[in-house]
Symmetry: C2
Subunit: 296 residues, 2 copies
């Protein structure tokens, strides 16, 4: 119960910050702000920001100081969804039960809204670095970790590998590589940035990054399982879409039962990595369980 | 003659830095590096980086320190060209005499190559801020100015206004607003970033930003003129394309003769703004003339 209050409060803070971050000024380019907000405020779970805040909390800092960086991460996540949905990519007309950005605003505006959100993430982070209360060097290190994770050596690279899936993903190792880039990299940097901003020492930083790697892969496998075992109502999108799209997933290589066991094992390993923090990592621990034991 | 050597040397430094900035590692996402390099290394004039270096030079700093920031700007400029060329935007099959990025690599990879370059600009700038020799706060201020200029309140906003041109651009004032965002913003921030990194005081910063604003508009009007008066050979692309595309340009509102006079006037005003720097702004002054008196 206490955790539910905790996560709700964090997500509300994120919601509030995001909702104020792109004012819809009455100028000739107004539609770009509307398009950016349309996707940014469409009710995601804000998991990446909450992960950053959970890692940061270990070091005792104030939520408000980390919030701009956490929200920058959500902007990056949102832009990636907008571009993923484009006709040239996954060609999805719907996202979270609403029209996808390009269906609502047209393709050109959709592309630019994605560009605008990626750019806005760095605008937000850099401004917070200059005007916020955190040590400047820590802020730049955190932003640098975020930037590396969302680029061609991270999320964008993973998207490329996913797109060419049938040529590039022929084994479980290939798949894990793709996942580590496509979804793993920004999950890892969310936690890493929280740790850097909080002032983690080298050992603490290493433990938190290992935690994030394990959680990232567990989360992704869980996603693959849910695509098969969930219901449309619970998932908020069509189930069985991976099979329908002939996608290579974890279940291509392992049974559902084994996949579930693997989720548990990666989660256990993640939790083990938090042991050095004792009770201070309480919420991050519960968050890991929450992320990987979603409703089957 | 001396200026020609100067600009050639600066552009060569940029070329060299850019060519080493995205190694084409032999991993499954390799095509993204290739696609990013394809456009990045396609022989632009590197005007924005050279502008930044010209402004920075006034304050006596070493070229190598500003170079990563100058090249970050070129990455942003290049990404904007890739996305501009997409079918949903201007739908251009050619750019600088070669296939446009999406024609060469496919639309999905083209979108991601643009995303990758925007992201890489911040990776590059943040890493240089951490590892370079310049004052950290100056670096963050410069990156913040760059980020603001390329976002929804800058270049991306201008792109939106341009796209909806016939609704949004009904007067010379509307057009100047659009230009100030679409091309003016990152020209201004190129100069502004050079000044910030060089350590300009408030007065110097103001003068250089005013210079950049004037040069930006003069440059854009010159572009509109060249589209009518140049030859295909000199311009490296089809002439008369603005008229063919029924585009609103400076010449929609003013005669060629008046437009040429306006270019001169804005250039004069720009040069006036450099007076406080005396001989130190020698190259920046010549650069302004070079930019606005291109071959008719």
């Amino acid at each position: 119960m206490e955790f539910e209050v905790w996560i709700k409060k964090k997500a509300e803070k994120v919601e509030e910050y995001l909702s104020a971050s792109i004012p819809e000024e009455d100028n000739p380019q107004r539609v770009i702000y509307e398009a950016m907000n349309y996707s940014l405020m469409s009710g995601g779970k804000r998991l990446r920001p909450v992960l950053m805040m959970g890692a940061y909390e270990i070091f005792g800092g104030n939520d408000d100081d980390v919030l701009p960086f956490a929200c920058a991460m959500e902007m990056i996540h949102t832009y990636s969804l907008i571009h993923d949905d484009l006709p040239a990519m996954d060609n999805d007309d719907y996202r979270r039960g609403r029209l996808s950005n390009h269906k609502k605003f047209g393709e050109a505006t959709g592309i630019l809204a994605g560009d605008g959100l990626l750019n806005k993430a760095f605008e937000t982070g850099l401004e917070a670095a200059l005007k916020g209360r955190l040590d400047l060097r820590r802020c730049v290190k955190a932003l640098s970790a975020i930037a590396s994770s969302s680029g061609a050596d991270g999320m964008i690279g993973g998207q490329i590998v996913d797109m060419y899936g049938h040529e590039k993903v022929n084994s479980l190792e290939d798949l894990k590589y793709m996942y580590s880039l496509k979804t793993g990299a920004i999950i890892k940097s969310s936690v890493a940035a929280g740790a850097i901003l909080g002032g983690a020492d080298e050992e603490q930083q290493k433990c938190l990054e290992l935690f994030a790697e394990k959680i990232g892969i567990a989360f992704q496998i869980e996603d693959d399982i849910l695509d098969v075992t969930s219901t449309r109502e619970k998932l908020g999108k069509a189930i069985g879409s991976d099979i329908a799209n002939d996608k290579v997933t974890y279940l291509t290589f392992k049974s559902i039962e084994q996949s579930m066991k693997d989720v548990e094992q990666f989660t256990d390993e993640a939790l083990k990595s938090l042991e050095i923090f004792g009770d201070k990592a309480k919420h991050l621990r519960e968050l890991a369980l929450y992320l990987t034991r979603r409703d089957h």
